[in-house]
């Protein structure tokens, strides 16, 4: 007779078979049997967080930086509700997470028992799928399917809710089935005909632009290689979304910088004026498109995406190719190379004029800012951080707000999976716990959270986690005492009524570092900045870096709401020149 295992044992056997090495979690009444079993499984290390939201974001950082699914273990009721923000964040940014939650025993479900909540009901809209395990005999299959759903097709979070009595009940263990078909949920159904259509478009274009997104990162490092080859073969300019940064080298000449609301002048104008737009793994988010009616009005549009529901959702396209980026672009490259053997005429000469135009836009130097000797400009701080860390293989996470945009604009990423930020949901408090997860996945690498003082306070408790596991994460806080992006919008749109966006009381971050048992560093003057950043990098342990920056700095360039790409507001230099203050206000 085969051996019988408890539900808790089966959970771990599944995790082992799925090659899970780390889980992020927090114990509680309804998951105690699973926690009890932890000691018997030495290949799996549990990271104890300080709040379940932190577990979720840490697992996201772990997943984004390693390409493996992040695993979260929480208890019922408040444990599950606390993780909802992280699940929603992962859903919006397509991050594979498997969340296991405890539940009250099956006979108490529906009785308003202690720490009971309708976990599957609450998480239904923020997961790809979820399961309430009511029968121990279903547990192994559900666990394996959970990993499959989370990691295939467009990745995303899933949740498995396991009542306490199921964790105690016994049954046989079932190994994962190989090649189980999930009724067509992973899509890779493009044809050579579609590839040929794309090649035809490439041949005839005079003003092309490639717009790549997080799908390239999610498709794995090979997708980035394929993308780089494609850009080289075609000679086309390329821009990237916030999530796509790093798929193509940020310091390469063909890279136009990020596009969208705070994207560069050249990237946005190229999007507006192009005659061929190739979207690779991006989703025409509203921060990217600006005004839909005037979005890239004269272009043929191609959309390559693994999720068929992304196609034509916002922008109607002329050619849709549903498939995995690695496979699609790999095929495109092969076809280009094959055709080139026939006749060596390159279309690079066709687009020479286009490049001239792009150089003119570049001349605007839209990321410029007026530097100062008296106060640290936040853009300058990010630039110095970049210069001092670019030779190391640095991993950067961020919170959400102005600092996030400055990091995206001024930190140049050359490899995929090095940039972890909350784009879709825009979760303040994402960066610190995400840095914890990144450092767990890459113990020897430099991990920096470029943070704002308001955001970082939302999940500050996870410093305690970093100290417990001696994770040398660097929390680089651009401290301007404001919720900067809120203040910027209030300045531009609400007649400078800074309603509740100033923090009257902030903690002393040096003392806070000391209280958590890590190192605190403060910089207030541009002249000391480099030396202090170096001190942070050299310190072998977690650091909170309190960088006092100019509180009045705004993030430019910027597309005002309801405007198309070619009507950007540029930075202070340009505003001085053109005196657009009055008119600029009307623009927003």
């Amino acid at each position: 007779m085969p051996k019988l295992y408890t539900g808790a044992e089966i959970v771990f056997k599944c995790l082992e078979d799925q090659k899970v090495e780390h889980i992020f979690g927090y114990p509680g009444g309804a998951v105690l049997p699973i926690y009890d079993e932890l000691k018997n499984h030495t290949s799996i290390k549990h990271i104890l967080v300080r709040h379940e939201q932190g577990a979720g974001h840490a697992a996201e950082g772990y997943a984004r930086s390693s390409g493996k699914p992040g695993v979260v273990l929480v208890t019922s009721g408040p444990g599950a509700t606390n993780v909802v923000t992280a699940l929603t964040d992962a859903y919006m940014d397509s991050v594979p997470l498997v969340c296991i939650s405890g539940q009250v025993p099956t006979h108490l479900i529906g009785t308003d028992a202690f720490q009971e909540c309708d976990t599957t009901g609450i998480t239904r809209p923020c997961t790809k799928h979820n399961w309430l395990v009511k029968d121990i005999n279903d547990l192994s299959e559900i666990m394996h399917e959970a990993f499959k759903v989370a990691t295939t097709g467009r990745p995303g979070p899933v949740l498995v809710d396991i009542p306490k009595d199921i964790q105690f009940a016994k049954t046989k263990y079932k190994k994962p089935k190989k090649e189980k078909k999930l009724n067509g949920k992973s899509n890779n159904k493009f044809s050579q005909k579609q590839i040929d259509q794309l090649i035809d478009l490439l041949k005839n274009t005079k003003k092309p632009v490639i717009y790549s997104g997080g799908g390239v990162i999610n498709s794995g490092p090979k997708a980035s290689d394929a993308l780089r080859e494609f850009v080289e073969l075609t000679g086309f300019p390329i821009t990237s979304t916030l999530q796509g940064l790093g798929a193509y080298p940020g310091d390469d000449n063909q890279f136009l910088g990020m596009l969208g609301m705070h994207g560069t002048y050249e990237a946005n104008n190229a999007m507006h004026d192009c005659d061929l737009l190739i979207n690779i793994g991006a989703r025409f988010d509203d921060r990217i498109t600006g005004k839909i009616d005037e979005f890239s009005p004269n272009s043929k549009k191609v959309h390559i995406d693994i999720d068929p529901s992304s196609i034509n959702k916002i922008i109607k396209v002329d050619l849709a190719i549903v498939g995995d980026v690695t496979k699609v672009i790999g095929k495109v490259n092969k076809t280009i190379l094959k055709k080139k053997n026939g006749h060596s005429k390159s279309n690079k000469s066709n687009i020479a004029k286009w490049w001239e135009q792009i150089q003119k836009w570049r001349g605007k130097d839209s990321l410029n800012f007026v530097n100062s000797n008296d106060s640290i400009k936040p853009q300058h701080a990010v630039q110095r951080l970049y210069e001092l860390t670019k030779d190391k293989d640095t991993y950067v996470t961020t919170e959400v707000g102005q600092h996030q945009m400055w990091a995206a604009q001024h930190y140049k990423f050359n490899k995929p999976n090095r940039w972890m930020t909350s784009g879709g949901l825009g979760t303040m408090g994402y960066g610190l716990p995400a840095a914890v997860g990144v450092q767990i996945a890459h113990p020897e690498k430099l991990v920096v959270d470029i943070a704002g003082e308001a955001s970082v306070l939302m999940t500050m408790q996870e410093m305690s986690t970093a100290v417990q596991y001696n994770l040398p994460i660097k929390i680089f806080i651009l401290n301007n005492q404001y919720m900067g992006m809120v203040r910027q919008w209030q300045e531009l749109l609400h007649e400078k009524n800074y309603s509740e966006s100033y923090s009257e009381a902030l903690p002393d971050f040096l003392k806070m570092a000391e209280a958590y048992g890590c190192k605190g560093i403060k910089a207030e003057n541009p002249s000391e900045l480099d030396e202090k950043i170096q001190e942070m990098i050299d310190y072998k342990g977690p650091v909170i870096f309190d960088c006092h920056v100019d509180p009045n700095e705004n993030c430019f360039p910027m597309i005002p709401s309801g405007k198309p790409h070619n009507q950007m507001i540029l930075g202070p230099n340009d505003q001085e020149e053109n005196k657009i203050k009055g008119k600029g206000k009307a623009l927003v």
């Binding site: 529901s309 609400h494 709401s561």
Partner: protein
Amino acid sequence: MPKSKSAYSVPTKKEKSDTYIFVVWVDNEAGVLARVVGLFSGRGYNIESLAVAEVDAVKNISRITIVTTGTPQVIDQIKLQLAKLVPVHKVAEFKREDKNVIFKEMALFKITGKKKKMEKCLNACKKFDLVILDETKTSKVIQITALRREIDKISKKLKPWGLISASRTGAVAMTRGAKIFN
């Protein structure tokens, strides 16, 4: 255009909405209806009627029929979003005007009053596959099957003649001929 103070763009011109019928084959498991209905409410789609029941007890498949309205772009999205749900096997959609598809609703009416008025009701309902399910001296319960707008019309007509209670199903649909949805 009025000045926008929002960080979001203002809505653009609207396309014309049409009525469509979705047929969705799903695993008959706990929560599956909530997933389908939640997708509609969560994304702001509209449900005019809904009918659901198990159609294959061996394979454990239920068939959900949903009547909805939307622009072609929205209808396309509904279809693609439904297809992404894990327990959904296939999705078919067609316009209400589609001549190749039959769709029917059923209604139960309770009529009370004088014999003469009840007779009038029965006559009016005759062309809708009338079945009398229950009779007393002063009441009748009848069943009709028809199109939604026909049932709308007839129930309005029957009200003054003694219709005191009506119970209706959502629409169910089937293609004409030997072909099936795919």
